[in-house]
Amino acid sequence: MMTVNEVLTLENQQEKIGALLLHGYRFVTMTVVDKGEEFDIIYHFDLDYDMVNYQLVLKKGDVLPSISDICFAAVIVENEIQDLFGITVSNLAIDYEKHFLLAPDAPAEPFCRVPGVGVTAVKTTAAAAENGGDK
């Protein structure tokens, strides 16, 4: 199971991630999970095959500070997050202004959970539970 090594705040995000990079950690990626009222932003780093996961809880509507100024590798995934989740990321090294992946006429925030649609709204079927692992 994955372990969250540290919970970040908007205030200490840069400092904590900067310290990881100074210790030789390599940026792997970021993951966003839409929890309804807020997002879990998870930063994944690696050192000698051990992964460190820092989590930041972001309220919907809040601005996420970019880490691309201290870690350029993050610029691509931060732009992807802007597109798919509609999160505004400030101070991006390259800012596609929410059109990195999405065309101008594409639906906005396509990966956000729409109330009434998606995982939590779908009635659980017994298919997986009854199955021995394969269909």
Binding site: V28, G133, D134
Partner: protein, 357 residues
């Protein structure tokens, strides 16, 4: 005075749509800005709407080249959350199909690279050799690319003695037939002229920019996730292939050497293939989160899964190797000549299908 030149999305050397907006000073690249999104499919979102067993089939379609390793990484993620122990035989079979996939992917990449620098005969020859590997996969699973062999808890298909013999014959053919093209790739004057000293990225920069796979190992960084020993790699004496020249030639050399290494890994796995079950039955739904990494042909892939105890996942996130290699690619391109752009792009073996999952 600099000018902006669009490279792609439709370009003779690009098998998939990708655009680079190149800022040029005369014919020298000053900066490059990637433009993607032409074929984005939203598979991560779709995976949230299927049940976690159906996702095994969906995930295999993220990529039409390293499909088996996608389903393997996904399965490993669910197995970690649900604490499912995979049978030993299944772990060895996973290594066999994963390495066959690496071989066909590397051969495909080398062929495309040869085509990019205008050596069409080499391209055809390498892809002809690739057919030996495709035959091995077809004989053991009934499919050439979408093997459908991996499942949560193990594998769906087996390799019997007759099939194992056929695979070994195909590997012998590969070793015999690849000898000449390998000599040309690594020794031919014109190939070296196109690859040596081109697209340089030093090890420190490559590491900082999150580079993965042969692109990282070609810059002298011995990082390969197979070193963690997942599946049966820990029992097969694996060591990463590393080259130190940091250029397109080094990245190509890593792939050529990895082809022989994969060949040896398949032979070793077949020789040590233990008897036993193919999969572990399980019940229930995943509850919890896991982040699993697997070494694909282009480098490390990350699968993040969050289950909520129902048969649908709350989140499935895939960080593919090409996605990680975009930022390093921009660094490699700075200072190169316009004619080298295509070769540098293909030296990271980009997979836009993976990137636009």
């Amino acid at each position: 005075m600099s000018m902006l030149v669009p490279f792609g999305p439709q370009h003779p050397v690009l098998p998939e749509p990708l655009q680079l907006r190149l800022e040029l000073d005369d014919e020298k690249v000053v900066s490059a800005i990637p433009v993607v999104g032409y074929v984005h499919r939203g598979l991560e979102k779709l995976a949230e709407q299927k049940d976690f067993i159906q996702d095994t089939y969906l995930i295999e379609r993220v990529c039409g080249i390293c499909s088996f390793q996608h389903s393997m990484a996904y399965s490993m993620g669910v197995e970690e959350i649900m604490n499912i122990e995979v049978p030993e035989r299944a772990n060895y079979l996973r290594v066999i199909w994963a390495e066959l996939h690496r071989m066909h992917s590397h051969l495909l990449a080398l062929g495309l690279l040869a085509d990019a620098f205008g050596f069409e005969n080499l391209f055809y020859t390498i892809w002809k050799v690739r057919e030996e590997i495709m035959d091995a996969m077809e004989a053991t699973t009934g499919a050439r690319v979408m093997l459908g062999a991996c499942c949560i808890g193990g594998v769906r298909k087996d390799i019997n003695a007759e099939q194992a013999k056929f695979v070994l014959e195909k590997l012998a053919n590969f070793e015999k037939d690849f000898k000449r093209p390998a000599e040309v790739i690594l020794g031919d004057y014109s190939v070296k002229e196109r690859l040596c000293g081109v697209g340089i990225i030093d090890g420190k920069k490559a590491y900082e920019l999150g580079t993965v796979g042969p692109a990282l190992r070609g810059s002298g960084v011995a990082k390969d996730h197979r070193m963690t020993g997942y599946a049966a790699y820990g029992k097969l004496g694996f060591e990463p292939v590393v080259e130190n020249d940091c250029d397109c030639y080094a990245r190509t050399k890593v792939r050529v050497r990895e082809l022989y290494q994969s060949c040896e890994l398949v032979k070793a796995a077949l020789a040590a293939l233990p008897e036993g079950e193919l999969k572990t039955p399980f019940k229930g739904n995943p509850l919890g989160e896991a982040a699993v990494r697997v070494e694909q042909p282009r480098g490390e892939v990350l699968y993040y899964l969050r289950g909520n105890g129902t048969d649908k996942l709350d989140r499935l996130r895939i960080r593919t190797p090409t996605f990680a290699n975009i930022a390093p690619l921009l660094n490699m391109l700075v200072g190169c000549g316009l004619p080298d752009v295509a070769v540098i792009i293909l030296s990271i073996d980009p997979c836009i299908s993976c990137t636009e999952r």
